[in-house]
């Protein structure tokens, strides 16, 4: 049943996302492509939408993927699934969080998890890049346009401009080239 499946997959994503934001990207990528819920390109498009709308990335992504897969019911199940693990865990430790914070086991686990998350995002980034750039024909028109956008977006990020500005600029350049070419 699709509702249960959405709940369970997003429960796992909520349970294993440490650090929030882009840390969940590798998990989402693996889940949606294995279940054929949305394509990798649709996922990247929706990261842009999530960055330009209010609220946490995790909630935005799960609502969207649930909605695309099984309508409003699907959106509810996916969002409930992604929120549920953190809700329960925080409730359990909110009374004794000082003990939790100073626990050496937690510190050891985090020492292993933090670099793992960085490596996983790097792998997700490489795979996402392959769906943006056509590796078969490196000098294709679309690749050159994308390269122009990557360079200018890189400059905006370096100047610490907010994501929505980066996305707006990329959309404008994309539309401009679309009209010219």
């Amino acid at each position: 049943m699709i509702y249960l499946r959405l709940f369970w997959e997003f429960f796992k994503i909520g349970m294993f996302t440490f650090g929030g934001g882009y840390a969940m990207l590798p998990l989402i990528q693996q889940t949606v492509t294995q279940n054929h819920w949305i394509t990798e390109k649709q996922m990247i498009d929706f990261i842009a939408v999530s960055e330009s709308t209010p609220g946490p990335l995790a909630v935005n992504m799960s609502t969207y993927i649930g909605m695309r897969t099984a309508g409003v019911g699907g959106a509810l199940c996916a969002t409930f699934g992604v929120v549920f693990p953190s809700f329960v865990i925080i409730l359990l430790i909110s009374g004794c969080y000082h003990k939790f914070q100073n626990s050496s086991i937690i510190k050891s686990v985090m020492a292993g998890l933090q670099p793992a998350v960085v490596a996983l995002i790097a792998a997700a980034l490489l795979s996402a890049s392959r769906s943006v750039f056509d590796m078969g024909d490196l000098f294709a028109e679309d690749n050159l346009i994308s390269a122009v956008i990557v360079l200018s977006a890189g400059f905006l990020c370096y100047k610490k401009k907010p994501p929505i500005i980066v996305i707006g600029m990329s959309a404008l350049v994309g539309m401009l080239f679309g009209m010219l070419v």
Partner: protein, 184 residues
């Protein structure tokens, strides 16, 4: 039980959910302004504690802090009210937007815009990656985990959750043996 704090929790976190873009660390100043400076529900130190806890517990930062603040102020009901509040705005906005996207995604101009946006998103992910990398404690263990986790995922296509569990356990084993080494 008094319902007033629950209502207030719901509305404050609704506002936080409705007006913070980008999620995660972008939300911290806003949460601090509302919860520490405005409502005085938490002290600054407690706010730092929450950020530290949110980093070592799973799930989105916004949800973690809403649940934490809610449960501190009004127990389980408070946690529910605050968490519902922070999630509801994005839930509703995304429901509308996903319908809108279905209507317009086949127009050529929208396709062109997204063609550009995809390249921009690659850069956003890249820049998040760089800042996460800079925050890592540098050392042999970190380097080993970075390489192992990357190889497992990218080349061997190992399940992401398995990789995370493996790396968490490696952290425990590494700390155990490196402490014993120092003890001698």
């Amino acid at each position: 039980m008094n319902m007033k704090p629950c209502k207030e929790l719901f509305f404050v976190f609704f506002k936080i959910g409705a007006f913070t873009f980008g999620g995660g660390y972008a939300m911290i100043p806003f949460i601090k302004r509302e919860v520490v400076d405005g409502k005085k529900w938490l002290t600054s130190e407690e706010m730092f504690d929450i950020i530290a806890i949110a980093e070592s517990t799973p799930g989105p930062l916004a949800v973690n802090s809403a649940t934490f603040v809610g449960s501190r102020i009004a127990g389980l009901k408070g946690a529910l009210a605050a968490t519902m509040g922070v999630v509801l705005p994005s839930f509703l906005v995304i429901l509308c937007i996903s319908q809108l996207l279905l209507q317009i995604e086949d127009f050529q101009i929208v396709k062109d815009a997204f063609q550009g946006i995809r390249a921009g998103v690659i850069v956003l992910i890249g820049s998040a990656l760089i800042s996460l990398f800079h925050r890592l404690h540098k050392g042999a263990f970190t380097a080993a985990i970075l390489i192992a986790a990357f190889l497992l995922t990218y080349f061997f296509n190992i399940n992401t959750i398995f990789t995370l569990v493996f790396c968490g356990l490696s952290g425990i084993i590494w700390n155990h043996y490196s402490k014993r080494g120092k003890g001698r």
